[in-house]
């Protein structure tokens, strides 16, 4: 095959990959900028630039509150799981004790739990604790997928750090807690940023628990709010508003992901986290 043909074929494939990946979101942005009957004209390039859908979703109803709820839940989940995971990862990676293999196995197994398997039990527990309809129920429940993952990735990261870095501190008689805080934490911020971001995305996107444990419009998180966005009548699905809401909650994620691209890829491959 002549090189020119090969090269063209290769670049055609590249163009296909880019279009395949980007087009649906591009089209969502396009739709979000249309108002009224413009929605029902199909365009491939932007022709309408109306912000009506954005003002609509941000001023009418409780959507801003839903965004705030999602931020509160996701940030709290990240902070708690990172705090619990750093110390646990230190113990799992730097201290040799009996039963460590079994513990790691358990943590790995929990990370593969289907959410539906704990849904019934968790629902009863949430009700019993009086957390039904409150954001605390979600903060609590989300630990099931953020904690095993953060522990696992941080353990992998810590174990790769050289022995020497803590030897001097051990000789000096520093306690394990001081060692974690003073020696490991400063070295670990890249890993913390990666795992924190992945945990944030997972919490931000979660749907099943959010649908089940919260039944109040004011306390809903963004994914459920978008899923339940409806128009004035049953038949009239407000596509423009839905797309505007979708763009609002997705753009920050995309920006974060593009900024931390390399770190995320390494974190994903180290932790094998689900998408």
């Amino acid at each position: 095959m002549p090189t020119a043909v090969k090269k063209t074929g290769f670049y055609a494939l590249v163009v296909f990959i880019v279009l395949f990946s980007v087009f649906p979101f591009y089209y969502a942005i396009l739709t979000s900028l249309k108002s009224g009957t413009a929605l029902f004209r199909i365009n491939y390039i932007p022709v309408d630039f109306s912000l009506a859908n954005y003002t609509n979703v941000l001023t009418n109803g409780v959507f801003p509150l839903n965004i705030l709820n999602s931020v509160i839940v996701a940030v709290t989940v990240v902070v708690i799981s990172l705090f619990l995971a750093v110390t646990a990862a230190y113990a799992l990676s730097r201290i040799n004790f009996r039963g460590r293999g079994l513990l790691l196995l358990t943590i790995l197994a929990v990370s593969m739990f289907p959410q539906i398997a704990v849904l019934a039990g968790l629902f009863e527990m949430v009700r019993w604790m009086g957390l039904y309809n409150s954001l605390f129920s979600l903060i609590f429940a989300y630990m099931i997928f953020t904690l095993p993952f953060t522990v696992w990735v941080l353990t992998t990261f810590m174990r790769d750090l050289p022995v020497e870095i803590e030897e001097a501190a051990i000789v000096d008689g520093a306690s394990p807690f001081v060692i974690v805080m003073k020696i490991f934490l400063p070295l670990m911020w890249p890993a913390l940023v990666t795992t924190g971001l992945l945990a944030f995305i997972a919490a931000w996107n979660e749907f099943l628990f959010a649908l089940t444990f919260v039944a109040n419009n004011d306390t809903r998180t963004v994914p459920v709010a978008i899923a339940l966005l409806s128009g004035a009548s049953e038949q009239e699905i407000p596509w423009g508003t839905i797309m505007a809401a979708s763009v609002i909650v997705t753009v920050p994620l995309i920006v974060l992901v593009l900024i931390f691209q390399r770190k995320i890829v390494s974190g994903l491959t180290a932790g094998g986290v689900k998408g």
Binding site: L92, R94, A117, S175, V180
Partner: protein, 331 residues
Amino acid sequence: MTNVTIGAPPTDKAMAAEKRPATRSKLSRQRLRSAWIFLTPMLIVLALVAGWPLVETIYYSFTNASLSNIAGAEWVGLRNYYEYVDYGDGEGEYFGLFFDSQWWNAVWNTVYYSAISVSIETVLGLVFALVLNAEFKGRSFVRAAVLIPWAIPTIVSAKMWAWMMNDQFGILNDMLMTVGLISAPVAWTANPDTAMWAVIIVDVWKTTPFMALLILAGLQMVPGDVYEAAKIDGIHPVEVFWKVTLPLIRPAILVAVIFRALDALRVFDLIYVLTPNNTDTKTMSVFAQENLFQFDKFAYGSAASTFLFLVIAMITLLYIKVAKLDLGGGR
């Protein structure tokens, strides 16, 4: 974080000093104690959020719990799974999850969806990974573009595609009609023949990047001199791919496939939003959720959840065996 094998086993060189008998003293006892102090909070949270609820779900599957009366649930044995009701005249009927055709329909849907979407994602992910592994202008741009579907929340992608697949105003029908692949608009998400394919298309779009990244990590582990040697020997690139590259990245692909399969088997949100109340796409998770919270058959839904858990547990065990995880910490 240069480590690319998923679930790399935590081994520890750090322990070398501690293993010497001379130092196995006060110091190591102190470290041992703090290890458990460090682990306890995490273990308590995991027990509360995963262990106990799982036990409860399994327990409810053997009771007659209903949504309004969970606390007063009574033990009914296997009745949610299997029950024979004798009508007294020599006739009788079987009831329970094992005899529920809707449940087996959901099982079939789940298996069908998982098998097809994971297969397509693997092949497409491999193609993406090979492209991203090649050197070309604008590679970092393509790599960034590929990450976008992964970053988009599942609910948002479901809605985006629902709009693109709209039967009257959807751009997908417009595209396919312009190209001439279809002659009349298709109601992708409502038509029984296409509903499952609509779900698969969205899933493939959303998770191929993840697959590609995992396979790419495997590709980057292949040492460059392997290709050098093949080139010097004049072996055709296609042959190099089949005989050299593929065997070398097979472990990475296998692990990625199992991860994706586990994920696909528990699918809920995509189907719940893209094709609501559609028996053609209803999966095991959707079936369980419906029974738990919409049909007031809490115990029955728990039985379905338990069944799904067992399936996933078996595949997880398989994964741990296949990936040969070294969890003993070096030995």
